[in-house]
Amino acid sequence: MGFPHPSHERETPVLSKHFGNHEAIGLEGWRKQGGYQALQKALAMQPGEIVDIVKASGLRGRGGAGFPTGMKWSFMKPGDGKPHYLCCNADESEPGTFKDREIMRWTPHALVEGCAIGAYAIGAETAYIYIRGEFTEPLERMRTAVKEAYAAGILGPNAMGSGKRVDVHVHKGAGAYICGEETALMNSLEGRRGNPRIKPPFPAVAGLFGQPTTINNVETLVAVPHILMHGADWYKAMSLSSPKSTGSKLFSVCGNIARPGNYEVVMGFPFKDFLYDLCGGPPKGRTFKAVIPGGASVPIQTMEEAEATKMDYEGFVEQGTMLGSGGVIVIDDQQCMVKQIARLARFFAHESCAQCTQCREGTAWTTKIMERIRDGEGTAQDLDTLLSIADNMTGKTICVLSDSCAVPVVSGIKKFRGEFEALIKKTTYHPVMAAVA
């Protein structure tokens, strides 16, 4: 639901049904909502059956990459004599994204249950939930939920009386965007600097502590209990874009918009209706100029593109961007695009782990040049220089942070070139005049 606003009739609140409901936070309240029935059911099944149901549901990773969850789980080979791990990525740091925060604040037991089912399905004895250090309230709620679950025998050596061991632990990060990258998260959990690792080996072969590991986003894991309870067909049927994109998705909406918040809609929902109807359109007296629909790392959309978009993995790609994490940043006509893109570049420069030269140097120089254009000190060559740096930053590094910094710059210059040129030529940019010309 559009937390902190009342649910909109066109939303489909599955994961967000209890946002704002204090009664669902604790174990007793959660049980009254049907909590832990899915885990009970799962523990009576064969792990392979659970993986098959998740595969059939078409659930794809909600953290950004959209990889099919069931397939990811099937890469794990239980019974090979090694320890196995499940990591839950709760390092939600992508600018514009705040969905996992609300999942953990309002329904911490849903995540405990999702982790326990996931761990059991992939044959992992231990699951670690890595939560960013700034999330003090979600951390506290998750720790309390895990404690309650152990005390009630839901977790531990004899999970729900099944005779099977399931351990879930909460791990607190310490401030680093890059730790949301899966292998950086594993390094951080091991007590190292959060530098991403070269792949291969992939986590399913050598992940956390060098052992086979699966890593899933919070929203992905909390969808699993619903899929187990209602079936793969139910999950597919609610989507307007089945079978490629299935189920419902949480979108966090922020920036210049009348009703910012978390909205849950089915895959394939029209983005235009989403922005103007559910979220209330632009703030009074303003108009929308641009949208960054999937967190700061995805290409910027013009309104023309955004209004033609279907909200699913393929729909966003068709309109020149990506679904990403579902963090929708809306920018209105009062904002200078150059200033906003410069700020994004600064973010990536700050967060670069600095192990790859292209990223360390590229993010810093991009920021420097963007800021001088912003300040009216840009030169005619700057746009070409920026594009050349961006080219050298794309597809050449261990992880995609470098690419993510290049993305808003390249899409910004392509779609809002007039604003850049006006600042360089020290003229005033008139969008209407530019459209006529």
Binding site: P4, P83, E92, S93, E94, P95, G96, T97, F98, R101, R132, G133, E134, F135, T136, E137, D167, H169, H171, K172, G173, A174, G175, A176, Y177, S188, L189, E190, G191, R192, R193, G194, F209, S252, V253, C254, G255, N256, P260, G261, N262, I292, A296, G327, I329, I331, D332, Q335, Q340, R343, L344, F347, H350, E351, C353
Partner: protein, 174 residues
């Protein structure tokens, strides 16, 4: 090497360094060891405990952690400096982080920063006010973008802050 000898090796602020991991905190550490296959995995959590107890992570604190986890102090320092949330020097009683990343930036976060610097008397980012009460810094995305502009005051998140609300928020602290 014993803990007390570690402490005497470190000069500067901490010649009187008293170990953090005694009594309950020591028990907490022993329990923590059971959750991970390596002692090193306890590094971030133990550094958090040092900061909770002392308000920051000193070289002596790092040395204590290093010894407990069978690491070198240099390794621990390498990890501490990677992460933004460990304070490597003392900070004000109220450590105020303002999110100024783009989603908050388009909603006026810069004005909130200005109001905070003025009303706390800090004047500059990262500088502690003369009375030792406040340190204000800009922070990258607090993950509360729908509630722009969020502040984090020590462990407390305050949502939807405007420059007008700053005096009332500061008054509520003391």
């Amino acid at each position: 090497m014993t803990l007390s000898s570690t402490a005497t090796l470190v000069h500067g602020h901490d010649e009187q360094y008293a170990p953090v991991f005694v009594g309950e905190r020591r028990k907490e550490l022993e329990e923590m060891f059971t959750r991970y296959p390596t002692k090193m995995a306890c590094l971030l959590p133990t550094l958090w405990i040092v900061q909770e107890e002392r308000g920051w992570v000193s070289d002596a604190g790092m040395a204590e952690v290093a010894e407990l986890l069978e690491l070198t102090p240099a390794y621990v320092k390498g990890v501490v400096t990677f992460y933004t949330m460990y304070h490597q020097h003392p900070v004000g009683k109220y450590f105020i982080q303002v999110c100024t990343t783009s989603p908050c930036g388009v909603c006026g976060a810069e004005d909130v920063v200005k109001a905070l610097l003025e009303k706390t008397g800090c004047g500059e980012l990262g500088v502690t006010s003369k009375d030792g009460k406040y340190t204000v810094i800009e922070v990258e995305c607090l993950g509360a973008c729908g509630f722009a502009t969020p502040l984090m005051i020590n462990d407390l998140v305050v949502e939807s802050v405007t420059p007008e609300r700053v005096p009332e928020i500061l008054a509520g602290l003391s």
